[in-house]
């Protein structure tokens, strides 16, 4: 009996730990790592300094709001995902690439997963997902970061 209770407690403890840990609660199956999330402030800093190396930024959502970003359209749609693939085919595998959508919180965004999966399957080595956990308004526009014309 004692071992049963102990096992249960251990199980409950581990589960609660897993559920409260943001690394896990973000979804273990997401096709990106924490290291692949790019802070908006870091991208804004690069965009504001033309002398620093410029990443290639793809908008894979509704509108290319970020300055200099390439409008692909929602990669939820296979035709848009294919457009992205065509563009990526022309780039060296070690290119500095950033993708963003920003419609909705990550958990609900239908566009970021197909795009990140494509980058992974094409074996790019230096690609990031812009960390817009809420949306592009709250995490980019409201911060006064550079926008397209």
């Amino acid at each position: 009996m004692k071992t049963k209770i102990l096992t249960f407690l251990l199980f409950a403890f581990t589960t609660s730990l897993l559920l409260t840990n943001p690394l896990y609660s973000q979804g273990q199956s997401d096709p990106w790592t924490q290291q692949q999330l790019l802070a908006p402030a870091d991208l804004a800093k690069a965009l504001n300094n033309p002398k620093s190396p410029q990443p290639i930024v793809f908008s894979i959502g509704m509108q290319a709001i970020i300055k200099g970003s390439v409008d692909i359209g929602p990669t939820l749609r296979p035709d848009n995902l294919n457009t992205l693939k065509q563009k990526l085919n022309k780039l060296p595998k070690n290119s500095q690439i950033v993708v963003y959508c920003g419609c909705c919180p990550f958990s609900r965004c239908p566009n970021i997963r197909p795009a990140m999966e494509l980058l992974k399957s094409m074996q790019f080595t230096n690609y990031k997902l812009l960390n817009l956990p809420q949306n592009v308004k709250v995490d980019w526009i409201d911060k006064g970061y550079p926008m397209s014309e």
């Binding site: 509704m62 509108q63 929602p74 419609c103 909705c104 919180p105 609900r108 592009v136 926008m147």
Partner: protein
């Protein structure tokens, strides 16, 4: 001296009186909701303030927002039920749908496919729409219920909470 005191009193109370009548424009319950003037699908500008006298639900949404899309059928039911209803202070019910849309065809197709008959406006600026800033929208879906004077009764209510808030204004 007496005249001076009277003049000061008049200035003070006169001033206070006018601030009471001119409702504070803001986003809190009891504030007057800020004006919105945006184009409909046909292109003509529809003003929120033109709906004065009606109970109005301002619904901020987008065809790309799954929970918003899901909610549209519920809004259709509420619209049908409450549009002809009798309210204590208001003459009817209206929905003012503001689409944070990027491309017109997406919006237009959704409206015709789902036969949405209430007011629909959009500047097609997605999250860059000035309205998103004016109404300090942090995420979608988001809505605001205003009374016949344009005063905010409730914010961001959904499901039964929204229906209760509308129902509260019905005449018994």
């Amino acid at each position: 001296m007496r005249i001076l005191i009277m003049a000061v009193a008049l200035l003070l109370f006169g001033g206070a009186g006018s601030t009471v009548t001119a409702q504070l424009c803001g986003l809190e319950k009891g504030n007057k909701a800020p004006e919105i003037r945006l184009p409909s699908i046909k292109g003509d500008t529809v003003s929120l303030y033109s709906l004065k006298g009606k109970l109005v639900l301002i619904d901020f949404w987008g065809t790309w927002c799954a929970p918003c899309v899901e909610e549209q059928s519920e809004l259709a039911r509420l619209y049908q039920q409450y549009k002809p209803a009798h309210f204590v202070n208001e003459k009817g019910f209206e929905i003012y749908g503001v689409a944070l849309e990027a491309k017109k065809p997406n919006w237009e197709n959704f409206i015709s496919k789902n036969k949405i008959s209430w007011i629909q406006v959009s500047d097609l600026k997605f999250w860059r729409s000035p309205v998103a800033k004016t109404y300090n929208i942090q995420g979608l879906p988001f809505n605001v219920l205003i009374d016949g004077k344009g005063v905010i009764l409730a914010k961001n209510l959904h499901g039964t909470d929204l229906e209760k808030a509308i129902g509260k204004n019905l005449s018994k």
